[in-house]
Point group: C2
């Protein structure tokens, strides 16, 4: 595994690309030509928890991609379809790893090619500081698991590669328990934050008083757990405990869905809360609160788009 | 009934004050001295559906108020306590009429004096255009009913006075059916609008597609109807029909709660959705969706206040 393609150079894609460039040949596929040029000419600097500048290749043209052993699709869920379609007919030797929030990224990729797939969720976070710098903020793990027939061995080797690059990663034989824990956490925290404009702060864990926000957060988690249980998934982490723990960190994290709302961009609501609501319907589980938040965030996207 | 005091000269208070000044002696009690001075020196102009300038008295000092036959407390619910406390010990001969959104305004007023009370809800709307002009927009009715032991005759005479002044009014022997219809409508439409930033537009009545906003609006109305029914109130109007009807007008109305949120002011959520949630608890009716919106709007107030 020494040829890696990273699709999308937002904060997460940039962190993978820069680190992996320390142990492999990395090519970044971006949408904007000036972004690709900046990466080629200036390299990609990592600041924050690490400090180095990576040298890597970058292009906007999928036809220029050499084949790769690993392709990490690191776009937002809202750009996934476009990114996957750009890969159609390319990278025949690659295993493709998806790291999008929510559920269903793998199925989107499979519409455009029959690559072996790795499912992943990442808990690391970063902050793009221009086209050729990314700040590494939370140095938490990426969790990987096989999708469909992908051998577990491939997952282990991919996790090893990521660890050798300086990031944290852990292979799982079945990723769904972790994926579902994160799905429920994200469906809850992201949509509440997008509607209230609160960062993920201690209000999310506060259950004192009748109108305290923590009651709603807790009920949303409970609805999510009932869906997970109906699909036969035993959660890896309790999403309520994840919520409490995350709000006890020093500074409150601004969830990506709130960033999207404030920037007037479409959110990932369809692949996060939408996925949870669809799984609930398929399994005959009532999720009235998630349905309410789904409708409210979608309506808010309309209002933001028309501003 | 020829001496009237109007407390609060927002859009609604200004419409009452200017019109009633055509048929009675009107004194306006405001909070800002320059507002009172503008009203004394320039009068109060009505534009829009009517066009005239009223001459009236205005003061910020309750001690300067002569006794009155009628006192209309027309502040927002968020300023009601402050306004009622200013009246303590004054206007011994007045019947006090409350027109706040939600429930419970009468109890707040009674903390400061034992005036006979009239409950009212108003459907008219206006737009303040500075301290001495108000635009009369929707010329819909004010509905009045007796509170506690207030004789119905007093309600009828008050409604007649308002009608003689050029506004629309209708007396009811029992206002609660109308008050509850408006409560459920407001708890639903105001909070959905405050969270989504959508004006009250056709999305609120749209039930096509699984995540359509109209499903949520309909469920919120249904929860509210169950509470009304448990308290023994038969609704005067179906809030869902009110919602559909209002969204079919030409231009979409911006609910006051959205105005408040966008201006960074506290909202009336506690006297509207809060009142509905408290009545539900008292009557053992489950209102999970209204509870969710109550918590979300309160959390959003926090986020707005800290910006």
């Amino acid at each position: 595994m020494n040829r890696v393609c990273v699709v999308g150079a937002g904060a997460i894609g940039s962190l993978y690309a820069a680190h992996l460039a320390q142990v492999a040949d990395v090519t970044v596929l971006t949408r904007r030509e000036e972004h690709a040029r900046a990466l080629r000419e200036q390299g990609l600097r990592v600041s924050g928890r690490h400090d180095f500048t990576a040298t890597l290749a970058a292009t906007t043209n999928p036809a220029e991609l050499d084949d790769a052993d690993l392709c990490i699709v690191a776009t937002k869920a809202t750009h996934l379809d476009q990114a996957a379609s750009a890969l159609e007919g390319h990278l025949p030797g690659a295993t493709v790893m998806t790291v999008q929030n929510g559920l269903g990224a793998e199925e989107v990729v499979l519409r455009y090619g029959d690559w072996p797939l790795i499912s992943a969720v990442t808990f690391m976070s970063g902050n793009r500081r221009g086209d050729s710098e990314v700040e590494y903020i939370l140095d938490t793990e990426t969790w990987l698991g096989p999708y469909a027939e992908t051998p577990y061995k491939t997952v282990e080797r991919t996790a090893e590669l990521i660890v050798r690059s300086g990031l944290k990663a852990r292979p799982f034989e079945d990723l769904r328990p972790a994926q579902w824990s994160k799905l429920i956490f994200n469906a809850t925290v992201n949509s509440v934050s997008a509607l209230t404009h609160l960062p993920h702060d201690p209000h999310f864990a506060d259950r004192n008083g009748p109108a305290a926000l923590g009651h709603l957060v807790h009920e949303l988690v409970e609805e999510g757990k009932r869906v997970a249980s109906a699909t036969g998934v035993e959660l890896h982490d309790d999403p309520w405990a994840m919520n409490v723990h995350a709000t006890q960190r020093g500074s409150a994290h601004v969830p990506s869905m709130l960033e999207d709302i404030e920037a007037g961009r479409p959110t990932e609501i369809d692949l996060i809360t939408g996925a949870l609501v669809r799984e609930a319907a398929r399994n005959d589980v009532a999720v009235p609160l998630h349905e309410a938040l789904y409708a409210l965030v979608r309506a808010k996207e309309l209002a933001c788009a028309s501003e």
